[in-house]
Amino acid sequence: MFIIDLFLKPVFWIIMGMLYLIMIYSARYWAQDLNLQMNWWKWLLSAAWFILLSLSLAGGMTLIGEGETQAGLYFLGLFLLIDIILGVGLWRLITMKSKKKRV
């Protein structure tokens, strides 16, 4: 539809871009306030984890959108579980060194 294609789709992605910018901008404040000793590869792993989480949600919802509800829910279940496990692992990795430094 004309209005959706010309206006709403670009506006949606502009808003998404702004959300990502705010998120990235705020991340360093979170890291500082939580005393996380971040370096480049920790940031890289954190970004990769967030991208994986986003793709998991998008993938599952795509399957639901195309009418494969069961497949979509299984997909979400599996990949969100993987995301949670990886997230916990990543958090331990990030906080482990900072704890050491504090000691």
């Binding site: 998404m16 990502y20 998120m23 705020s26 991340a27 967030f50 919802m61 795509t62 639901i64 494969e68």
Partner: protein
């Protein structure tokens, strides 16, 4: 600014919590975008239509091979007239119901030995085939009786199919049937001396562009090899032994998909005629176009107006590879690929065949074999049969046709469950395209194994017999029928 506890809420906190909210909102946004991507009708394979070939997006150059992926293991021979199930069934029907109204020359009570020469020879060399025909015939009679029960439910689907079928037969059919030998009929209607092309490459690029504007999703150019030309019957001439006419130099092979929603609601809501009628128009227009440039042309179109077998021709044209179900699988359309061709003497640059890993994928997958209501598709690890010199997958045509005559349609209209359930036939949204593209570039096959595990664990399938009417099945369809094919959505049925 201070909160209720008196703690200051400064700019830093504002940015931090805005970032947190932004993360949450972006996850919501990406989930919503995913959902809309799944619903998007532009991701129906081949139907995100771009008139100039944008739907033929796969980078074939990376997968070009010098030898096609069909495996030659012995002396090759051409496919004979009676090896086509429609031809031999037609012969039997003409014996059972002579056109001149005379008494039957053969009935179902009779056996193989009562058949005339070539038919007898065929059925003697194919044990069980005639029994399967008799079973199909009886199922067809039952199908006609059943239709009273199902007519209301499938009225729209049947009407839709009949509308698509209407331009295919009779005097008004387009393209018209060839009259006379190819040396005459293929040159009829040429309006000018043949214009000299700048190069065969120019010819190929032009004809592909034109075919796309006529509605073809995929176009490829192949040489016409003698071994793919049928033997024993030539349209315009009749039953005859013939050699490939010298002016059949190249074949312009065109492919389009079925309408998406009806394909997914196979067998009872789908039809083959939607794609067939479009292919007839595309190939017919290409014939006229070529003749207006001074070149000979003959369209080969579905359902049965072919002088050449289409799948190997399309493989030679680099459109795809043959799958376990015997159907061509293309990177863009999967098994939802229907074919036609136009043979011509126009100088054209031929395409190369491709190998994007279908053979290995089909070896592992077997979903079509599991879902086939007729059991016509082999579950073997490797193609068990050598067909006319080639080791390749081949379905049991007779068993397949019996199911055409069994499903709850008005008359034998096909099944197409194997097309719909093939993992390559999934939508062209980012999830499935990513899976298909990564698989094509993975030489180890690990990715396809992982994808197949998910495919078989996550997706649900009704199961072979369920596609049949009661008492054996439940008239199941692969996916829910679209609203526009459901009679009860539009008509008062009280």
């Amino acid at each position: 600014m201070a909160d209720r506890s008196g703690k200051k809420f400064n700019r830093r906190d504002f940015i931090k919590y805005s970032g947190l909210a932004g993360a949450a909102l972006s996850l919501g946004g990406i989930a919503g975008a995913g959902y809309l991507s799944g619903r998007n009708k532009a991701t129906h394979t081949g139907w995100g239509r771009d008139a100039y070939g944008g739907n033929q997006y796969f980078n074939r150059a990376a997968f070009r091979v010098h030898r096609p992926t069909y495996q030659k293991v012995g002396p090759v021979r051409r496919i004979t007239y009676l090896e086509n199930i429609f031809n031999r069934n037609g012969e039997l029907y003409r014996l059972m119901f002579p056109r001149d109204g005379s008494s039957p020359q053969w009935t179902l009570k009779q056996g193989v030995s009562d058949l005339p020469g070539p038919l007898r020879d065929y059925y003697q060399s194919h044990p069980g085939s005639l029994q399967e025909f008799k079973k199909a015939f009886r199922r067809g009679q039952q199908q006609k009786k059943n239709w009273k029960k199902y007519k209301t439910r499938y009225l729209l689907a049947s009407a839709w199919s009949a509308a698509h079928e209407s331009p295919l037969h009779g005097k008004g059919a387009f393209p018209s049937e060839p009259e006379g030998p190819p040396e005459e009929s293929d040159f009829k209607g040429i309006t000018t001396e043949a214009y000299s092309l700048k190069s065969p490459g120019h010819g190929s690029r032009l004809i592909k562009k034109i075919a796309h504007t006529f509605g073809a999703t995929l176009v490829g150019i192949a040489p016409v090899r003698e071994q793919w030309v049928y033997q024993g019957y030539l349209r315009g001439v009749g039953k005859t032994q013939f050699n490939k006419p010298p002016h059949w130099k190249h074949a312009v092979v065109v492919a389009i998909p079925h309408e998406w929603d009806s394909l997914y609601a196979n067998p009872v809501y789908g039809t083959s005629y939607d794609a067939y009628s479009m292919l007839n128009f595309i190939a017919g227009k290409l014939e006229v176009f070529l003749k207006h440039l001074g070149y000979a042309a003959r369209p080969h179109v579905p359902p049965t107006d072919y002088d050449i077998a289409m799948p190997p021709l399309a493989i030679d044209a680099g459109l795809g590879e043959q799958g376990r179900h015997g159907i061509l699988i293309t990177p863009e359309l999967g098994a939802n690929t229907r074919l036609a061709a136009v043979t011509t003497n126009m100088p054209l640059e031929e395409d190369h065949p491709i190998d994007f890993g279908v053979a290995e994928f089909c070896r592992k997958c077997k979903i079509c074999a599991d879902q086939c209501p007729s059991g016509a598709i082999s579950s073997a690890e490797k193609p068990p049969d050598v067909i006319r010199g080639y080791r390749r997958w081949a379905i049991n045509q007779d068993k397949c046709f019996t199911i055409w005559n069994t499903v709850a349609t008005q008359h034998p209209r096909g099944c197409r469950v194997c097309l719909a359930v093939c993992p390559y036939s999934r939508k062209n949204n980012w999830v499935h395209r990513l899976a298909k593209d990564v698989d094509a570039y993975d030489p180890t096959g690990t990715f396809s194994s992982a994808m197949l595990t998910m495919q078989k664990s996550f997706f649900s399938y009704p199961g072979g017999a369920q596609y049949l009417p009661p008492p054996n099945g439940t008239n199941a369809v692969y996916q829910k029928p679209p609203q526009w094919l459901k009679t009860e959505e539009w008509f008062n049925l009280d």
